[in-house]
């Protein structure tokens, strides 16, 4: 039996195929582009081709992500929060807390052993503490976004960035640079500020081990280091983290396939 999860994000669309033993058979990731419906269809087709099967061999498909209702061939939709939770539990069976820092928002999720969402907390009002803050800093300092993380690790001193608002952080950064502080030190301050806000968000759902760090910003080594310092703990970061949502969706699809679509039975069997 084969199940599929399709995660339609604002930048990238991902698909995962799994079998009844929860082995990943294929994965694919493409740019979402303007036509969301076609992106979902294309990424699904790619995984099917990679696995060497036909589309009708896939018993159940679950769509997730902001474009989950555009997965027209999907049998059900599940939110990315629920899917990330299950995906994280799949990749890190002992994880209890997930921190997801995206471009637009930040989420902290507490889960039970099977990946069930127990509680979650979002910051989607304020750009400070999301990837936006990093983008603003990178733009202000005229550096590519993927360089600021490694550069921040080369700091000699720590500078405290006090502003809570992305709008004001620009002038604060320029003021430090004008005073002769090194870019690495300033970036270190920026990364610490984001880590601080993330930890504050996480405290609302708890800090039980293990903690998994996911989302686009998890690729930033400077944030990883800053978070681990503040938490005094190692964080789980997976190279597959961008597939976490699709993996979770595939697992939900598998539940449906195995139990004839009954959620209660799925919960019993999970």
């Amino acid at each position: 039996m084969i199940a599929a999860g399709v995660d339609v994000g604002s930048t990238a669309t991902k698909a995962i195929l799994i079998d009844e033993n929860r082995h990943i058979l294929a994965r694919s990731c493409i740019k979402t582009g303007a036509n969301v419906v076609k992106a979902a269809e294309r990424v699904f087709r790619e995984t099917v081709e990679t696995a060497g099967i036909e589309e009708h061999d896939v018993t159940q498909v679950v769509g997730t992500g902001y474009g989950r209702y555009k997965v027209t061939f999907g049998h059900a939709q599940v939110t990315e929060i629920s899917c990330h939770a299950r995906g994280a539990a799949y990749l890190f069976p002992h994880t209890r807390i997930i921190l997801d820092i995206g471009g637009q928002d930040t989420k902290a999720i507490r889960i039970a052993r099977g990946g069930e969402v127990e509680d979650f907390c979002m910051n989607d009002k304020c750009a400070a503490g999301t990837g936006r803050f990093l983008e603003a800093a990178a733009t202000t300092m005229a550096l590519p976004l993927d360089e600021i993380g490694p550069l921040s690790l080369q700091h000699r001193q720590s500078i405290k960035i006090t502003n809570v608002c992305t709008v004001f952080v620009e002038s604060e950064i320029l003021a430090h640079l004008a005073r002769g502080r090194s870019p690495a030190d300033v970036l270190r301050g920026v990364h610490l500020a984001i880590a601080g806000r993330s930890v504050a968000l996480m405290r609302r759902v708890g800090l039980d081990p293990e903690i998994t760090f996911t989302g686009g910003v998890s690729r930033n080594v400077g944030i990883c280091a800053a978070l681990e310092e503040k938490l005094e703990r190692h964080l789980n970061v997976s190279p597959d983290s961008q597939y976490m949502g699709a993996i979770g969706a595939a697992l939900f699809a598998l539940d449906r396939a195995l139990t004839g679509h009954s959620p209660a039975a799925a919960a019993a069997g999970a």
């Binding site: 006090t162 502003n163 809570v164 004001f168 002038s171 003021a175 504050a200 405290r203 609302r204």
Partner: protein, 429 residues
């Protein structure tokens, strides 16, 4: 201050010592089995509660002290972890965070309450604050409801409601402490309070002089503390006798609060406690002296004729409760500011708007419009917070303050037309 003067520094230092002693007594109260009452500054009924031997805790003062001693940040974060929004009052969050940190404040360990008295005058957040404390401490809560001064005159029905509740509170205190209400001591305490109020008003009105011997905002926030926290104890009157001597000495020797007085302002709004020193310096460098302020009246509008009166103890106390600044409607507040600008010969108005406090801040932008556009008074509008250290942008504040006083200096130099003279207004408290 120079050594040749006997009394300089008294106002600041004696108040600090007295408050220090008070906190010490507070930390010893539980071990001694002595009852503790929590209450608020605006409309506070200190003499009534201390009559029964209650030690008094003012959570607002606790929060202010945490702010000024730079420990507020962590307590606020702790409260936010518990589910309090970033958008609610920093004082409340400080207090709740402190409660959940073993009540270990920078002034010492605070005792839990035997009784919570929510004297609701002027600030609705007080009610939500003590609802929360009642739940966390599982302590009894008495709501002393003081009606808002919604019209120009006080309705006798309002006063009857307040005195009626005070009698109920007295009955409750008798039950809780096993002590009878001592009306003679109450009258004696009120007599002392009235004397202290007299001295306080003299200190405030000294700022009518040009130059002023007293900064009625940056110094007043300390000089006012004993009147708002130590009434009902002998320390209160003793303090004001001493503080008045300091001001008398300043007048006699021409001493001012800071170097040369270049600008006189009226200040509206609470100060940013976590950045108090830095904020004051932004004004001091311009030779600015605050000659009147509204925040110094949160504990009572004594300079408007409010007095405790041993001949009418509960009635005068009820009148006092209704006449604290944040319990006055916006029209009354506006007229007060106008009178201050006129009576104290101020050059301009500074409005410091704080995010936490809706009672103060909502409508200050309208006040700015009125004074600046309609009355032609130079008005400076700046924003930060009174409790949360994160909401303070030093660079921006300095910019605005500098630009304002530069402009004022220029006007003085070029002899620009003075502000339109304001009609003098009468408002009976």
């Amino acid at each position: 201050m120079a050594d040749e003067y006997r009394y300089q520094g008294t106002g600041r230092n004696l108040q600090k010592d007295m408050l220090g002693d008070w906190f010490q007594r507070l930390s010893q109260a539980p071990a001694r089995g002595e009852p503790v009452a929590y209450l608020f500054i605006s409309g506070n009924i200190a003499e009534l509660l201390s009559n029964f031997g209650f030690h008094l805790v003012y959570p607002e003062v606790t929060a202010l002290q945490c702010g000024i001693k730079k420990t507020a940040g962590n307590f606020i974060l702790k409260a936010e972890e518990l589910g309090y929004s970033p958008d609610v009052c920093g004082y409340v969050k400080n207090d709740i965070g402190l409660l959940h940190s073993g009540n270990a404040s920078p002034m010492g360990k605070l005792p839990p309450p035997t009784l919570l008295v929510c004297n609701y005058s002027g600030c609705r957040t007080y009610v939500k604050w003590f609802e929360a404390l009642a739940e966390f401490y599982k302590a009894p809560l008495f709501m002393l409801d003081v009606p808002y001064r919604r019209d120009d005159e006080i309705d006798p029905g309002d006063l009857a409601y307040v005195t009626g509740q005070m009698n109920e509170l007295i009955a409750l205190c008798e039950k809780l402490t096993g002590k009878r209400f001592d009306i003679d001591r109450f009258r004696a305490d009120l007599a002392d309070t009235a004397k202290a109020e007299e001295y306080w008003v003299r200190i405030l009105e000294s700022a009518r002089r040009v130059p002023s011997p007293f900064d009625s905002y940056f110094e007043a926030v300390f000089f006012m503390a004993p009147l708002y926290t130590l009434r009902g104890s002998p320390d209160c009157l003793r303090y004001y006798e001493a503080a008045w001597r300091e001001i008398e000495e300043r007048i006699a020797h021409g001493i001012g609060p800071a170097g040369e007085e270049r600008f006189r302002v009226v200040v509206e709004g609470p100060p940013p406690w976590p950045h108090f020193r830095a904020f004051w310096e932004m004004f001091q460098r311009w030779g600015v002296v605050a000659v009147a302020s509204t925040y110094s009246k949160v504990g009572g509008l004594f300079d408007q004729g409010v007095r405790h009166d041993p001949a009418r103890p509960l009635e005068s106390m009820a009148e006092y409760c209704m006449n604290c600044y944040t319990n006055w409607n916006l029209g009354l507040r506006r007229d007060l500011i106008r009178r201050y600008l006129e009576d104290y010969r101020a050059d301009g108005l500074v409005i410091h708007s704080v995010k936490s406090c809706r009672s103060f801040s909502v409508g200050q932008a309208d006040t700015r419009e009125v004074f600046s556009n309609e009355y032609g008074i130079p008005t400076l509008f700046i924003e930060s917070d009174l409790a949360d250290p994160r909401y303070f942008s030093a660079a921006q504040l300095r910019n605005r303050i500098d630009a304002f006083f530069e402009g004022l200096a220029h006007r003085k130099l070029t002899g620009a037309a003075p502000a339109r003279p304001l009609p003098v207004l009468e408002v009976r408290p």
